[in-house]
């Protein structure tokens, strides 16, 4: 469903992604791991369509569900079924969670030629999804992320994921800053949303998340390239040896 080939991207003239290649099929869970500054979050943001990054359109090809993803503005990527759970979800004072999510859902439905949901039907759906990710019903009327704790913000991202039901969800360090209880709730939410026609990309610094959400593939990102790919065991090896293992190996044998 997602094919990335030779993806190059830079910000303010500095190249961050230096030729990323991998593909994701329906139902798969991919983990992207790597030390700080390796380009993990950049990859997530570029796929979601953040315009702060310059993608080298000469070299890079990304297709999503048969469409040229790099050609689409962020909102059309979302309507097509791509979702990014933010590492740092923004606060939106004055706009309630339910108003925000209803607007998002109806934009997506409109683009697919479906009828918009009215407030009552939407509320019913929202309450059901909130129960699923163990969020207090009172959060529906609270302003988006305003005054939420770190854990609440991350859970709120998973709630949006549950409501919008994307085909591909990218979770950008959703585990960072979570205590064990919050991590369990977030992971269980994600596991419930796994399905044969939905794929996930988990961007994470730590192996810990992968104890809860078991990936099919693990990729290690270092200095803007994927330097190792493998199954779940790669994450365990990385946990054991630490990122210095990658650094030593790569920096010693680096061809350039």
């Amino acid at each position: 469903m997602l094919e990335i080939s030779n993806l190059h991207a830079s910000i303010a003239g500095k190249e961050i992604l230096k030729g990323i290649n991998f593909s994701v099929k329906e139902g798969e869970v991919h983990a992207i791991m790597g030390p700080n500054g390796s380009g993990k979050s950049t990859l997530a943001q570029v796929l979601a369509g953040h315009e702060a990054y310059d993608v080298d359109l000469e070299k890079s090809r990304v297709t999503f569900l048969g469409q040229d993803l790099l050609d689409l503005p962020a909102e059309e990527r979302a309507r097509l079924g791509l979702f990014l759970a933010f590492q740092y979800p923004v606060e939106i004072p004055g706009i309630s969670n339910s108003y925000f999510l209803q607007a998002a859902m109806n934009e997506i439905r409109k683009s697919r030629g479906l009828d918009e949901l009215d407030a009552m039907d939407f509320d019913e759906l929202l309450q059901e999804k909130m129960k699923m990710v163990e969020i207090d019903p009172g959060f529906a009327s609270r302003a988006v992320n305003a005054g939420f704790s770190g854990g609440e913000k991350k859970r709120n991202e998973i709630l949006q994921l549950a409501v919008l039901e994307p085909r591909l969800a990218i979770l950008d360090e959703t585990d960072s800053g979570l205590d064990i209880d919050a991590l369990r709730i977030v992971s269980e939410g994600v596991n419930r949303l796994r399905s044969p026609n939905r794929a996930f990309i988990l961007v994470t610094h730590y192996q810990r998340l992968l104890d809860y959400i078991v990936p099919d593939f693990v990729h290690v990102l270092y200095k803007g390239r994927i330097v190792k790919s493998g199954g779940r065991e790669l994450a365990l090896e990385l946990e054991e040896k630490g990122y210095d293992w990658i650094r030593t190996e790569e920096d010693a044998g680096a061809p350039v």
């Binding site: 979302a78 990014l84 923004v90 004072p93 706009i95 108003y99 209803q102 607007a103 407030a119 949006q160």
Partner: protein, 452 residues
């Protein structure tokens, strides 16, 4: 005279003589009508002050960013010699609040025919200043009228010279009004340039409580009308007032309003000032925290759509110990509109333990809108906490991207953000009926059509 560039040594150009002459002529006309002696004297003091005071101009520090030239250059007819208009089928329903006491004023004068009969606790009065001055409440009016007003400008003096009618509220000691009072002020459409000199007086004796709204609206697009308003507000020891003004002067209407508030010990003011439109609107709010422990929460929202100028001018004086003030004004500016915000906080030498916070946040939706924001802190006590902050800018791009990543395009996102920005303030209005009314106005203006 008009249009000639005559060199002059006085503080204003002679081109304004006609404006002044118009007002003075109408004052003479008013002097011929019967009135209590004390009132005639008060008006005469206003007239004398007006005659000797220059009209505001941009070389005066306080008016540096607020060019009143279009107003000053217009000779107005005051309502002394003109026939009164009726509402003639104009629907006041959108201004009314169900379950409240709705009192209607037309071009500055009370219209009993379209007002609710006031059902107030014994001793309380809500209605017309004109009736109060000549009725059982005369002593109350006489005691307080003019008591709060400092020497402000030629226009406040002008208002005093024309005191005739306006909103009046009196709540005796320990009484709590069981329902809010809504003063609806309507400017009718007229051929002439008409000035309405509303004079309001709100008095809460010790431990009294009330919620009041002042809703100002123009028939038609705003016409040539000019509301020149002065309000005096006395909040006694331990009393609490919630006051909300909603101002829509239309695209061409002009309004200058000075509200002077004096607060006693442990009293509380919760003020909301909402400006929806007008060619020139100036809301001057002066609050004197005169007794220890007094608290003032001053909230403002201004939504300038096209070419209007809104000037919110706050003068807050901490004159006693342990007083608290919170100023939170927010604005949304579009088109070529302009906003001026001045937050002057004065802390006198003995006002220790003062706690004051002021914020002015502006959301700019066009490249041609302009904002001036001026915090002015003057602190003469040493044990105080005074902070201020201001923001001016378009909707933050990282928030817009968050919307887009959820499938909502930039235009819709900006609309929703603007709604949220304004709603954040409206959400603080304590009275549910009033909050709903203000929320509805904001929603209709900004929110893109999603099913709600």
């Amino acid at each position: 005279m008009r249009g000639q560039a005559v060199p002059t040594t006085t503080t204003e150009a002679p081109v304004f003589d006609l404006t002044r002459e118009h007002f003075l002529r109408d004052m003479r006309r008013l002097a011929e009508t019967p009135a209590p002696v004390w009132l005639k004297k008060l008006r005469m003091d206003g007239e004398t002050l007006f005659a000797g005071t220059a009209f505001p101009h941009t070389k005066m520090e306080e008016w540096r960013e607020t060019n009143l030239a279009p107003l000053v250059e217009t000779p107005y007819y005051s309502m002394t010699g003109l026939p009164r208009h009726t509402l003639a089928g104009f629907d006041t329903a959108p201004c009314r609040v169900d379950g409240w006491i709705n009192l209607v004023f037309v071009d500055g004068f009370f219209d009993a025919a379209v007002s609710d009969a006031s059902l107030l606790p014994y001793g309380a009065h809500a209605g017309s200043l004109a009736q109060a001055m000549t009725g059982p409440a005369e002593k109350i009016v006489q005691k307080h009228l003019g008591s709060c007003l400092g020497k402000r400008s030629a226009y406040t003096a002008l208002n005093t010279a024309f005191i005739q009618d306006g909103p009046f509220l009196y709540v005796p000691q320990g009484v709590e009004l069981d329902r809010p009072v809504n003063f609806i002020c309507i400017a009718t459409e007229r051929q002439e340039n008409v000035a309405a000199h509303y004079r309001g007086l709100f008095v809460l004796d010790a431990m009294a409580r009330a919620t009041v709204a002042v809703t100002c609206i123009s028939m038609g697009a705003g016409g040539n009308h000019f509301d020149n308003v002065v309000e005096e507000v006395v909040i006694g020891d331990g009393a609490a007032l919630t006051r909300c003004e909603i101002i829509d002067a239309g695209a061409t209407g002009r309004r200058l309003c000075t509200t002077e508030t004096r607060q006693g010990r442990d009293s509380r003011l919760e003020s909301f000032s909402i400006t929806l439109g007008g060619a020139i609107v100036r809301n001057q709010l002066c609050v004197m925290l005169d007794g220890p422990g007094a608290e003032a929460h001053l909230n403002g929202l201004y939504l300038n759509a096209e070419a209007g100028l809104v000037d919110n001018n706050l003068h807050l004086t901490h004159a006693a110990t342990n007083c608290t003030s919170r100023i939170a004004y927010k604005g949304v500016l579009d088109g070529t509109s302009r906003s001026v915000f001045t937050g002057r906080v004065l802390v006198v030498p003995h006002a220790q333990k003062t706690d004051s916070v002021q914020l002015n946040n502006n959301l700019i939706l066009s490249d041609t809108a302009r904002v001036e924001t001026r915090p002015q802190l003057e602190i003469y006590a040493d044990d105080v906490k005074c902070t201020h902050g201001a923001t001016v800018g378009p909707p933050p791009p990282e928030i817009v991207f968050y919307f887009r990543s959820r499938g909502v395009d930039e235009k819709t996102a900006r609309g929703m953000l603007t709604y949220g920005f304004a709603e954040d303030l409206a959400g603080r209005i304590p009275d549910p009926a009033l909050r709903q009314k203000v929320d509805g106005i904001i929603y209709r203006r900004f929110s893109p059509g999603i099913n709600g």
